[in-house]
Amino acid sequence: MMSRAARGAPGGRPPGLALLTVDPIACDGRGLCAEIAPELVTLDDWGYPIVPAQPVPPRWLTHAREAVRLCPKLALKLE
């Protein structure tokens, strides 16, 4: 239950660290995010993205932003 990615706490995180979240209703499992940011996103057995519960490490931020920008369903968020 801790892996509930959509429920990132906004408070208490050091500034600059962003959480990658997916809106599971909007997500259609197209899988682009896993192509663009394989370090962050894995796919489950049905092709839906599993995102890390921890904030995105700074070195992968560019990939994360790209994945958010290119998600065809606008289901990914970096916040």
């Binding site: 239950m1 209703i25 057995d45 049905w46």
Partner: protein, 432 residues
């Protein structure tokens, strides 16, 4: 009603209900307590509150330690306070949808004590500053509720507009955001969070969604105060709660218990077990399985059941006869829960289906892989917009762990149960 008959949450000298049942006191299904009888038992309720007295009442609910009775046990005062602080014009939704198929407590409460539920909706509306409350109840009790609302309108009792809405069918229809979606759009499917309902819910307004039993308890706290409320139950989990006792008990039905009563005593309220029992399903169909000997003498409370990885949930206790196969039951419930997915989130839609198919094979003694089931459980847990996949995963995980011996037997190709028909009750779908 005049506003000065009730000066804040002060406690009347002698509460009308001191011991025994608090909610289910007078009426019974088919003969709900009338407004006249209701007001004779409980004094009228102040429904026009100034800001300070509304805050004092929320504080009284906090002191009472009331938690939500819909299953999640969220502190009631925190929800009230967050909606009251949201600004704008909040609305109240009294949630009696009760999608849980084996549970009947909300239907029984609405059918017997409609005015206690309406009191709760009205006083909660006053606490958060709402002028309108939607009373969402099962279609079988809509007429009772509408009659009760008409009684109150004729008596000019409330300043809050009460609208009765027939609840949608389906397991996830009772989820808070699904109820809001149902009222607003006629689609009983959960919404994404954020936004939280307390900030932007029904028609974009701050929305308080409370289970109707929670509201009925609020109506009693507003009258008799926190100290009275805490005189039942445990220190950490005060008050009473409604439970639905079903399966292998002598008299199935809804009872009111003090939280923390031993499970054995709770079942005694249903006349005890009707046949030898191997296990109980606690909380609901998305609750947890426990072995009967492990749980018989534990208190029925979150603290008491934590050690066996279970909880009171929405108050269901389903007793499984010892000669029945627990995996057959688990697979049947899993298939039911998979079918009840709103179909909005991929992992829930596909995952629960895959898991229940594999469980069905396991229960039937066909080739199957518990490891694969466990892998998939990890992939659905926490991955929906609502908690439906989490709850299904919890129930199935508990079965694989509690019935580990039966799992091995099934993998060896044999089952101890007499038939592949489940005994626990399933809902029929109301025709659309």
């Amino acid at each position: 009603m005049s506003g000065n008959r009730f000066a804040g949450p002060a406690v009347p000298a002698v509460p009308a209900v001191r011991t025994g049942p608090r909610l289910l006191t007078g009426g019974f299904p088919g003969a709900p307590t009338s407004l006249h009888d209701h007001l004779a038992r409980h004094n009228p309720l102040l429904t026009r509150l100034c800001r300070s007295s509304a805050d004092a009442l929320i504080e009284e609910v906090r002191l009472a330690g009331l938690t939500g009775r819909g299953g999640a046990a969220f502190p009631a005062a925190r929800k009230l306070a967050s909606v009251a602080a949201a600004g704008g014009r909040p609305v109240v939704v009294a949630n009696g949808t009760e999608g849980e198929p084996a549970s009947a407590k909300d239907k029984v409460l609405a059918a017997t004590e409609p005015h206690l539920v309406l009191d709760g909706a009205v006083i909660a509306a006053a606490m958060v500053g709402a002028r309108k409350a939607y009373i969402v109840v099962d279609p079988v009790v809509v007429a009772t509720m509408e009659f009760a609302v008409a009684e109150r309108v004729a008596a000019r009792l409330d300043r809050v507009r009460l609208r009765v809405v027939p609840a949608a069918d389906g397991f996830v229809a009772g989820e808070a955001s699904a109820v809001v979606n149902w009222i607003e759009r006629g689609v009983p499917a959960p919404r994404s969070t954020p936004p939280r309902l307390a900030e932007r819910g029904l028609h974009g307004q701050p929305t308080l969604v409370n289970n109707i039993e929670t509201l009925a308890q609020i109506a009693l706290i507003a009258r008799y105060g926190a100290r009275w409320f805490r005189s039942a139950g445990t220190q950490a989990e005060p008050g009473t709660m409604l439970v639905t006792l079903t399966g292998a008990v002598r008299t199935e039905g809804v009872r009111e218990i003090e939280i923390g009563r031993p499970v054995r005593d709770v079942l005694a309220l249903a006349g005890g077990l009707s046949v030898p029992v191997s296990a109980l399903l606690l909380g609901g169909y998305s609750g947890a399985w426990v072995r009967w000997p492990d749980v018989a003498d534990l208190p029925f409370s979150a603290a008491g059941l934590a050690g066996v990885h279970a909880g009171p949930g929405a108050g269901l206790i389903a007793a499984l006869p010892a000669d029945r196969c627990p995996l057959v039951e688990t697979a049947a419930i899993a298939r039911y829960l998979a079918g009840e997915s709103a179909g909005q989130c991929g992992p829930c839609l596909f995952g629960l289906g895959a898991i229940s198919a594999e469980l069905t094979s396991l229960a039937a003694g066909r080739p199957s892989s518990p490891d694969l089931i466990r892998r998939w459980l990890g992939q659905v847990d926490g991955r929906g917009a609502c908690r439906h996949p989490d709850g299904a995963a919890r129930m199935i995980r508990s079965a694989l762990s509690v019935f580990a011996a039966e799992v091995s037997e099934h993998l060896g190709g044999w089952c101890t149960g007499p038939s592949s028909f489940p005994v626990l009750p399933f809902p029929y779908r109301r025709p659309a």
